[in-house]
């Protein structure tokens, strides 16, 4: 087992708490950088897809995992990011300006939408945000002159410093672009977590009364969380647009919102790892299932709703048996190996929690 001796407050403040994690994450980044030399272009495309979902997952995780607010409207913000980016570029803005701006605009829109929605809690907020997902479809159709309505849009080739990036013809370049965005979003996420704002998020999630008593403005903090979440989601949306190569009013549907929420629950709420683990599941489940189905039933047999059904099943199993998601499972396996052979069976049994009744009295 690894024991950390902390000798300075900076151990808890800096990005990588100790050399061990610096090495692990350094190696991971290195692997990501050389990946195109290790696997072929088809798989690079698949990994790119995972990364884009992971970025979207980070966006929703910041809201749901950190401040405890479930949103089923995030497909709408994917759409806003995607359309804003495309429209800005059509207006002549360079990608390096349009893309960041698309996220920021999505964030601002998100924060504004959040203000009335934030009076709602839990399931009620989730229901209200469903409306967003549904409305987005109609609004995209209504705004036809800008959005192309039902016939949709095709994003242009990305140009960065005279270099062209395109998902189909240059998947490796596109992979590096997505990787850069993923790393940036992860950094933002980490930075927020180790700042006062990140702690305010936790505070709002766990006890609004005492957060208030400590001087945290609940509504402002929630709106900020919503805004940041939407900003990251907006970037993911823009990348999804490029990845798909074409999009219209039906691309960012309620199903995407639901998938996103399931993804972060399966991955593990409240952790950066969770967003990435969940993204792997979401991106590879359809392929895995179709391979499995073909080998069992032979190819050509179609089972409508199979994916959704299996996905829902997995979600239910996780909520019942592993509420901490894949990341929680991963931690447990790691600790089991670190302690081997001293791990006890009931080591992870959940602690009795104290009821909070009559919260103020």
């Amino acid at each position: 087992m690894r024991i950390q001796f902390k000798t300075s407050y900076d151990h808890d403040i800096r990005l990588f708490p100790d050399r061990h994690s610096l090495i692990v994450y350094g190696a991971l980044i290195l692997l990501a950088l050389v990946l195109p030399f290790l696997i072929n272009e088809f798989y690079i495309g698949e990994v790119t897809n995972v990364l884009i979902w992971a970025i979207a997952g980070l966006g929703l995780m910041l809201l749901t995992g950190q401040t405890g607010q479930a949103s089923l409207g995030h497909a709408a913000f994917l759409a806003i990011g995607c359309y804003t980016n495309t429209i800005l570029i059509e207006q002549g803005l360079p990608f390096l300006l349009a893309f960041p701006l698309a996220g920021v605009i999505t964030g601002v829109v998100g924060a504004i939408i959040a203000i009335p929605a934030l009076r709602l809690h839990g399931i009620y907020l989730a229901i209200a945000t469903i409306a967003l997902s549904i409305l987005a479809d109609d609004i995209i159709v209504l705004l036809e002159p800008w959005t192309g309505g039902v016939s949709g849009k095709f994003p242009d080739v990305i140009r960065v410093f005279g270099m062209e990036i395109e998902r189909w013809t240059m998947p490796v370049r596109f992979y590096y672009l997505v990787l850069a965005v993923a790393v940036m979003c992860t950094l933002f996420y980490r930075n927020i977590l180790r700042s006062p704002l990140g702690r305010a998020f936790d505070a709002v999630r766990d006890s609004e009364v005492s957060a208030t008593a400590m001087g945290v403005h609940i509504a402002r903090t929630k709106a900020t969380a919503f805004g940041l979440s939407c900003m990251i989601t907006g970037w993911a949306g823009a990348l999804m647009g490029y990845y798909a190569g074409a999009f219209n009013n039906e691309t960012f549907s309620l199903v995407i919102s639901i998938t996103l929420l399931m993804m972060i629950v399966i991955g593990g709420l409240g952790s950066i790892h969770g967003a990435f683990f969940g993204a792997v599941v979401v991106a590879f489940l359809p392929q895995g299932l179709s391979i499995l189905k073909d080998s069992v039933l032979g190819s050509g047999v179609a089972i409508p709703g199979l994916e959704t059904g299996v996905f829902g099943m997995i979600l239910i199993l996780f909520i019942l048996f592993e509420p901490m998601g894949l990341y929680g499972r991963w931690l447990k396996i790691r600790i089991w190996f670190e302690l081997f052979p001293f791990a006890r069976k009931d080591m992870f049994r959940r602690q009795k929690s104290y009821l909070k009744t009559e919260r103020l009295r």
Binding site: Y9, R199, D206, T212, A213, R359
Partner: protein, 255 residues
């Protein structure tokens, strides 16, 4: 000089008059205790001072400033910190993170700086951490620093909550039943801490407590409350021997 001044405060919940035309003031540097049977309105007084409840009538001032013009989240900025009768901690965060939330009112960095973790954020974090470490040392919380609240025993949670309030560097500390549910030893610790908070840190304490041993041990003045109204006020000994107080506690006819 009075730091907190409550004048003619009244609050009704539907038909129940929880606080009835209550006036009292807490002097700077003293420990002021509120006692009274369950449902007397003690916690409600705290929630009025915290601005969680809007009084039906009355004036509240802190250091000469009108409290009623403050929003609930602005009360902390004035230098008022509190604990809750039913511990209200951030359960899915560590002790350290909980205490650091106490520093929230001292946040000086902006969203943008925090997104990029600008050097100033790092600097501020070190200051916050140093302040929190003082509290950890004071309350002997070292063994729990990186533990999740959700797994901590009740007694430790109580102390963490006190720590979170102290971390905000308050002028007035509101403690709602700091010793309830604590063992004899833990109550003894609490007593020393309250003494030190007042004497070493110079923080004024307003507390609600049932344990008369603790109340007479640490407080300068006591207010006895019944049905939201003042029954008696004075030194612990005076209040304890007050016939009205004895009657309220033991029931009519017992005295």
């Amino acid at each position: 000089m009075s730091l907190l001044k409550v004048e003619n405060a009244t609050l009704k919940f539907g038909g129940v008059v929880a606080v009835n035309d209550l006036s009292f003031s807490v002097n700077e540097g003293e420990v002021y205790a509120i006692v009274g049977p369950n449902g007397a309105g003690k916690s409600t007084v705290f929630n009025l001072v915290s601005r969680f409840y809007q009084p039906y009538a009355g004036r509240f001032s802190f250091d000469g400033q009108d409290l009623l013009s403050c929003k609930p989240d602005e009360v902390a900025d004035l230098g008022i910190a509190r604990t809750f009768q039913n511990i209200e901690l951030f359960d899915h965060a560590t002790v350290l993170q909980n205490l650091l939330v106490g520093r929230h009112r001292h946040r000086r960095t902006t969203l943008i700086e925090e997104l990029f973790f600008a050097p100033r954020v790092r600097q501020e974090e070190r200051h916050h951490r140093a302040a929190v470490e003082e509290v950890i040392d004071f309350l002997d919380l070292q063994p729990y620093r990186d533990k999740m609240i959700a797994g901590l025993p009740y007694g430790v949670r109580k102390v963490v909550e006190l720590g979170r309030a102290l971390a905000s560097g308050p002028r007035l500390l509101l403690l709602d039943e700091p010793a309830s549910g604590l063992s004899v030893e833990e109550t003894q610790d609490m007593r020393w801490w309250i003494d030190d908070i007042r004497k070493q840190m110079g923080i004024t304490v307003l507390m609600v407590e049932h344990d008369m041993g603790l109340v007479s041990g640490v407080s300068d003045r006591v207010l006895a409350l019944a049905d939201g109204a003042k029954l008696a006020e004075g030194t612990p000994a005076e209040v304890q021997s007050d016939p009205a107080v004895i009657e309220a506690y033991l029931g009519a006819g017992a005295a």
